[in-house]
Symmetry: C2
Subunit: 519 residues, 2 copies
């Protein structure tokens, strides 16, 4: 009656023991994946124990029987009946970007996007009569762990247009947004106790997500262009396993564009240097890039912030973007994380991961026993908007509009900073992407500098709250404990120009008072 | 220039070192949480290392400053601007259940739910003018890790109405559906190498999710009422750490209602026995209960399957449901997983977890660095349907309708089984809940029984495919390797009565031929 003891330890397979690889691409092979491009390297030795153990779901095997024989009557899959889904129809009204023909190279921001609208509708059975390739019955039903292929095909084509991957066997899989994607790829690549490299200042949730899986984090020094390649190289070159108590790091996590919190964007030169170092030392690069399309035109101090230069064609737009790490990757060592949170809406909880088929297949195995797939309602609305509505060009039009609006907001914040902040004790780099400005405050000029960097920073932070302005201190973003200077992160994403100006004026007062400056 | 080595191992805090507990309930305390009910036990010694390490997100601290001082101007939160979300409006048409006043105790199934419809609309700023407590700007924006409180409040009230928890400090938090919830609570309670108990036959994704986190699974023998309490007690009583190579299991995973794959439902007596054993041996119970509301009325062989008995009032309906493990729990040792997949639609990717505040707070810390929250579009449509549309009573009406429709489907399958399957070699228990019938085939009567249980099962399975019917073999669901008999799982969830009859007729032919039976 008592079951026998379960087989002892679960065996940890070598990657080569896993289900046949490379897997088939999840969506149709697209044009650029020509036979002439090289295949990725087999980098499966980077997979964590957890990831290696994952197996293909038995229930997916069941569906393969049905796919092979359309006459087969299946009592196998416990799918609820679509007739019993209570939702009959979903509609959405979406904005439409100004058509490129109206662009004259300048964008006048009026705080609103153009008032053209488009209606989209999803009904239960519209795929049956050919009205839609992806209907509501499909969106409400269980979906493959890849996400809906009708949307994924669009995203893969978009990725190809923008990033032009240089190896043949790349693929995309949908995620629940970049926070979910981060947890997924961290668990795929990191065993407890492994070292992981990243920028010295990071979004707190990155560190908060890595700590529970017991990754040892090392922040690499940054400059105006983000993570310093010379520091990265030196760290890896001089790595001492004994002193560090662990093997050389095999994972680099970076936010190369509009980094949060520093607002820095890596130049192409910097990206190439970092990529080459990762080739030399065999690192996997996690490219977390939600702000990629929020790359902005030049800031002209004092100019009207509401007039923004825009590219005249989508081709010009795509060419103007600094190449991603993915686009430099010839070996399949970049895992790129894209999200709809900053280019559509965070509530979609939908994004996608791009990498080699080998790695994408491992994400799929994880999705099947976790997220499963992004919300079908999110995918249905995105499909209606992107695939049935805008198309690839219309989506790029939207992105051009969007970045112009964020450029306007950035310019308004920078104008306020030029006007109200005391240059004697602080400076900043104009961010060329993202949502943040990083204010560098010279603590050596502070009367209480002897209390140390962190004490000065905290004093300014608290004086800010006293003076009714909340700007986050650098300490909240620091990976290692020793700060070299005082920093503050200000965002221009969601506050009106008027409130930004008032907030910055208050912060200027705080700095003047704290540093004993008087006009 | 080189950063100093990161602090060695991350310290693993005792639960008492964590942020102050018990945390505040995420939603308003509801009536039943009276001062008279006892508090839960502190069972935090069950938390995994991973879960103990989790900390409150710094960015949540930032938002608390804003909450305290409405005059504070914040440049802190990097939230995108709702004005720049491309979706202006979302509408849905939802079914409405027959009002209870039309119930006469019998339900005539016509394959369609009643054709009453309701329109719901979510626009960007309708909360500002008081039209909605949860508008589209909110649904599309970043949300707390609890999920939208406007929907969560409804779910907590629903949980209170149906399950009437017996301790004071219980709470709910939203999940991405039960597959996601399973991954979350597994990681919260299980360290690699820990033993976990469950039914001897489980949904494959349960085992596929547990293997990568290196849980050692033990399946407990089942009978017609599911997991046997005597087997459970004996296993725990006789646990030998040395022989087993590990401490006594501290987690029991069960699907008490309409279990997948066996279709079994635990009686109240069985549930009480199991709960008491878990109290004695200090186990946490994961109650995965997606089929709870698909409890069905009696099956009368030969009767018209389309006429189904239904309760005349919602009170009668709720009283007719077998009590959940949650409702028996006086100590906070049950983590209950509810999902919209079977009662609304799987594509929502939305569910909720109920347990003690202590445990719910740990789920929240995980959500913040993973799922974040369910799709805002899913939550908006559910909110419009449940909160602004149906209300608590209307939702129960819907569930009464839904279970009548599934009862009809079950009856149709059972009719076909009565007609076509050879009782000489197989039998089954009429399932009182869920979506599955478990067919027990007596392999000792099979001509090739000497090949063993698994060989006979596989032979029948393959002969089925040959004869154009796919019914899944017991082996696919078995936790341990030794099977005592041949089983097949048939579902009545999504196939028409006609196709079910044809499939079962084909399976009957397979059995007759395989066992050498001739009419």
């Amino acid at each position: 009656m008592i079951p026998p003891p379960h087989k002892a330890e679960i065996e940890i397979p070598e990657m080569s023991d896993l289900s046949p690889l490379p897997v088939k691409p999840s969506v149709a092979t697209i044009a650029s994946q020509s036979e002439s491009a090289p295949l990725s390297l087999d980098l499966s030795h980077h997979l964590s124990i957890e990831s290696r153990i994952r197996q293909k779901s038995l229930l997916k095997v069941a569906s393969s029987y049905v796919a092979r024989d359309p006459e087969l009557l299946s009592l196998a899959a416990g799918l609820p009946s679509p007739a019993l889904f209570p939702i009959e129809k979903v509609s959405a009204t979406v904005q439409v970007a100004k058509h490129e023909s109206v662009r004259n190279g300048l964008w006048k921001c009026d705080g609103l996007l153009p008032d053209t609208r488009r209606e989209l509708h999803k009904e239960k059975d519209s795929s049956l009569n050919g009205q839609s390739e992806y209907d509501l019955s499909g969106a409400l039903q269980y979906e493959q762990g890849t996400g809906a292929k009708q949307l994924l095909t669009f995203l893969k084509k978009h990725t190809e247009i923008v990033h032009k991957p240089q190896y043949r066997d790349w693929d995309c899989i949908m995620s629940g947004g970049n926070t979910h994607a981060m947890e997924t790829v961290f668990r795929m690549l990191i065993n407890p106790g492994d070292y992981v490299l990243m920028e010295e200042y990071v979004f707190p949730e990155t560190a908060e997500g890595l700590r529970p899986i017991r990754a040892k984090m090392i922040g690499i020094e940054m400059d105006d262009e983000g993570l310093r390649s010379d520091s990265l190289r030196q760290l890896l070159e001089e790595w001492d396993e004994t002193a560090r108590g662990g093997t050389r790091p095999a994972v680099l996590y970076v936010v190369p564009t509009g980094q949060n919190p520093t607002g820095s964007t890596m130049s192409l030169r910097r990206r190439k240097d970092i990529y080459n170092i990762c080739v030399t030392y065999d690192l996997i690069i996690i490219e977390d890039d939600p702000y990629y399309f929020l790359q902005m035109s030049e800031y002209v101090p004092g100019a009207d912030p509401t007039v923004v230069k825009v590219p005249k064609t989508n081709q010009e737009f795509v060419s103007s973007l600094v190449p991603s790490m993915l686009s430099l990757d010839t070996q399949g060592r970049v895992l790129r994380l894209d999200s709809f949170s900053k280019v559509a809406a965070p509530g979609m909880r939908c994004g996608w991961i791009t990498g080699s088929e080998r790695f994408v297949e491992r994400v799929l195995r994880h999705n099947e026993v976790g997220l499963q797939f992004p919300s079908g309602l999110s995918m249905a609305v995105l499909h209606g908007m992107l695939v049935e509505g805008w198309g690839q060009d219309g989506y790029l039009d939207w992105l051009v509009n969007l970045r112009a609006e964020y450029t306007n907001r950035r310019n308004a914040l920078l104008n306020a900073m030029d006007k109200y902040l005391p240059r004697e004790v602080c400076n900043w780099v104009v961010p060329s992407a993202g949502m943040f400005v990083w204010i560098n405050v010279d603590y050596t000029k502070h009367p209480r500098r002897d209390n140390g960097v962190e004490a000065v920073e905290m004093e300014i932070f608290e004086a800010g709250i006293e003076n009714k302005v909340l700007i986050l201190p650098g300490a909240w973003f620091k990976v290692n404990m020793e700060a070299r200077n005082v920093f503050f992160r200000a965002t221009f994403a969601s506050v009106s120009a008027q409130d930004m100006a008032l907030a910055i004026e208050r912060f200027g007062e705080v700095l003047r008072k704290g540093f004993g400056l008087y006009d």
